[in-house]
């Protein structure tokens, strides 16, 4: 039997206004080399100054990952020559990072130990074309938190599920937008195989993974490749490989034999960081129920099915909306079916998230109350919801302006029913003859004639009374 060991290295760009060591805008720009200054460009004589917001967000993540927070953290220079960093070194943390020895427990994934979480600066972006490389330093100095797990994953699917939850977590914590396509969240994996009981094998690192799917596919391919070699008695080379998505395989990038010697040493321009008790207390306040824990609670507390709880806890705003609606008296059934149905549909149609739509919990609760009281019917409520999502209006105004009130006056409804009976004599005779099927058709006609304002239940009662 062959055992597999998978570890992840996750990089997240922190959501700050400015870069980590200078006051340049931390913002993606299509125009190359706009957000640059002497500090991030490594001009002589400049002094890096640490962004307190980057520190705060880094600690929020360390804490959420149950890391031990080092009493003293030290920035170090990681020396390497590559044109994506003009300083010729990257300021990172090495011996004393912010957080070490964390633990994450997600349902459906084995317990994952976190080796460390350290804060560093992102490098610039190089575009290679023909004989030229094009340098854009806008990204240079973006605050980057690197989270390294222990090789505790046994299956590619576990790694994928972990990453999906991890992304939800950083979004819940509001520290990173988690966009893998744009590179604000990136992941490298390392994987080794060995005969059972023999411990870790020789580690191979895989880069160039731009989606969770790529992570899974690359791991599946690599495990197969290594297992074959192991069984055949071949030697697996410790190296870095790249995922080639077109060919669906990993390819050798560089061998680790002449592994980079980064010659780390403490960054003399940045003093050590000692998290103060009051700072840590503030970090504690920023903690929020993590997505997988909230999902489990939704299943237990609200008796939701797995997929329903998964949907409702996908985003923190969605879960908050749901629970606020329940607090305001909406039933679990009603809130969850509206959120998964009409609300999701409307948001999708307008390519909006709950956060940037005009819908608020108050508007939703008012709508459901009117529906429950029979003031509007479900057709009218659906129509109102469409408008509430994309226009900044009160529920009451939307209903009035669009004439969505249900016919409260039974006289008015009776007149419509009479009209429909009179105009559909043949069908009426059919029903009188014992054929129940066309009843639905007549109700439809009544709804249409009332402009959607009739109460279908009352209309049915009236109709049947009159026909029989």
């Amino acid at each position: 039997m062959i055992e597999t060991f998978i570890g992840l290295e996750i990089h997240i760009q922190l959501l700050t206004k400015t870069k980590i060591f200078c006051n340049c805008k931390n913002e993606f720009s299509h125009i190359p080399n706009t957000n640059v200054c002497p500090v991030c460009m490594g001009y002589p004589g400049v002094l890096p100054r640490l962004n307190e917001e980057a520190v705060r967000k880094a600690y929020i993540v360390c804490r959420a990952l149950n890391c031990h927070l080092n009493e003293k953290a030290v920035f170090e220079r990681k020396n390497y020559f590559y044109p994506d960093l003009p300083k010729n070194y990257q300021i990172s943390q090495f011996a004393l990072p912010f957080g070490v020895n964390g633990l994450v427990e997600i349902d459906g994934v084995p317990k994952i130990r976190i080796h460390e979480a350290h804060l560093e600066e992102d490098a610039g972006k190089l575009v290679h074309e023909g004989m030229t490389s094009y340098c854009d330093f806008n990204r240079t100095g973006t605050p980057l938190l690197e989270i390294v797990t222990e090789p505790d994953f046994k299956k590619p699917e576990d790694a994928e599920l972990f990453l999906q939850n991890f992304r939800k977590m950083v979004r819940y914590l509001r520290v990173c937008d988690g966009n893998m396509e744009e590179g604000s969240m990136r992941c490298d994996v390392n994987v080794s195989v060995n005969f059972e009981g023999k411990g870790l094998g020789r580690k191979v690192e895989i880069k160039n993974l731009n989606s969770f799917r790529h992570v899974r596919l690359a791991l599946q391919h690599e495990i197969q490749r290594q297992s074959k070699m192991l069984t055949a008695g071949e030697t697996i080379v410790q190296e870095t490989r790249l995922w080639n998505d077109e060919k669906k395989r990993t390819e050798s990038m560089r061998s680790k034999e002449d592994a980079n010697d980064y010659r780390y040493f403490p960054e003399p321009d940045l003093p050590p960081y000692y998290p103060a008790p009051e700072f840590l207390a503030a970090i504690e306040k920023e903690q929020t129920e993590l997505p997988w824990i909230r999902k489990r609670r939704f299943i237990n507390e609200y008796k939701l099915a797995d997929d329903g709880a998964e949907f409702l806890t996908e985003e923190r705003e969605r879960a908050d909306f749901f629970e606020a609606a329940l607090n305001a008296g909406v039933s679990v059934q009603s809130a969850s079916s509206w959120m998964r149905g009409e609300i999701a549909k409307g948001l999708n149609k307008n390519k909006m998230s709950l956060k940037d739509s005009h819908l608020t919990v108050e508007k939703f609760v008012t709508l459901i109350k009117l529906l429950d009281e029979g003031k509007i019917n479900s057709q009218g409520a659906k129509k109102a919801m469409e408008i509430l999502i994309c226009e900044d209006k009160d529920t009451a105004d939307v209903i009035r302006e669009n004439n969505l009130m249900q016919m409260a006056d039974s006289g008015e409804l009776e007149a419509v029913v009479d009209k429909v009976i009179a105009g559909n004599d043949k069908v009426v005779q059919q029903i009188k003859g014992g054929d129940q099927k066309p009843i639905g058709f007549l109700i439809g006609q009544i709804m249409k004639a009332s402009g959607g304002k009739a109460d279908p239940k009352k209309a049915r009662e009236l109709l049947l009374n009159k026909i029989s």
Binding site: T16, K17, T18, C22, N23, C24, K25, I31, P32, N33, T34, N35, V36, C37, P38, M41, R49, L50, N51, E52, E53, A54, V55, V74, N79, F81, Y82, P83, L126, V127, H128, G130, M131, T132, S133, Y134, C135, D136, F137, D261, R263, P266, P268, D269, L270, P271, P272, Y273, Y274, A276
Partner: protein, 93 residues
């Protein structure tokens, strides 16, 4: 005496090219430096926390506020080669 191979490795990490003669001269000088370090290494430092900084204080942070720099255009102009706003260099992997 420092192994020449070691010296070449160190030079290549710093992207320095050494002639045979430079390597000969340097290996002696560098060996001497390394000897000094080995003298220091003999000192008993048990129980001492490594000193990373002498007087830089601690927790020096700044507010997360944007200050625009005027460097961008001047930097591009000063680069030996550029293509529009990209700084261009010979192809590197």
């Amino acid at each position: 005496m420092m192994e020449k191979e070691e010296l070449y490795k160190t030079a290549s990490l710093a992207r320095l090219e050494l002639t045979e003669k430079e390597a000969d001269d340097l290996s002696q000088a560098v060996s001497q430096m390394i000897e000094y370090f080995s003298m220091m290494e003999k000192i008993d430092v048990t129980g001492l926390e490594p000193t990373t900084h002498v007087s830089a204080g601690k927790n020096r942070v700044r507010k997360d506020e944007i200050v625009e720099s005027s460097l961008a255009d001047r930097m591009i102009e000063a680069a030996p080669e550029h293509d529009d706003r990209f700084i261009t260099i010979p192809h590197v992997l």
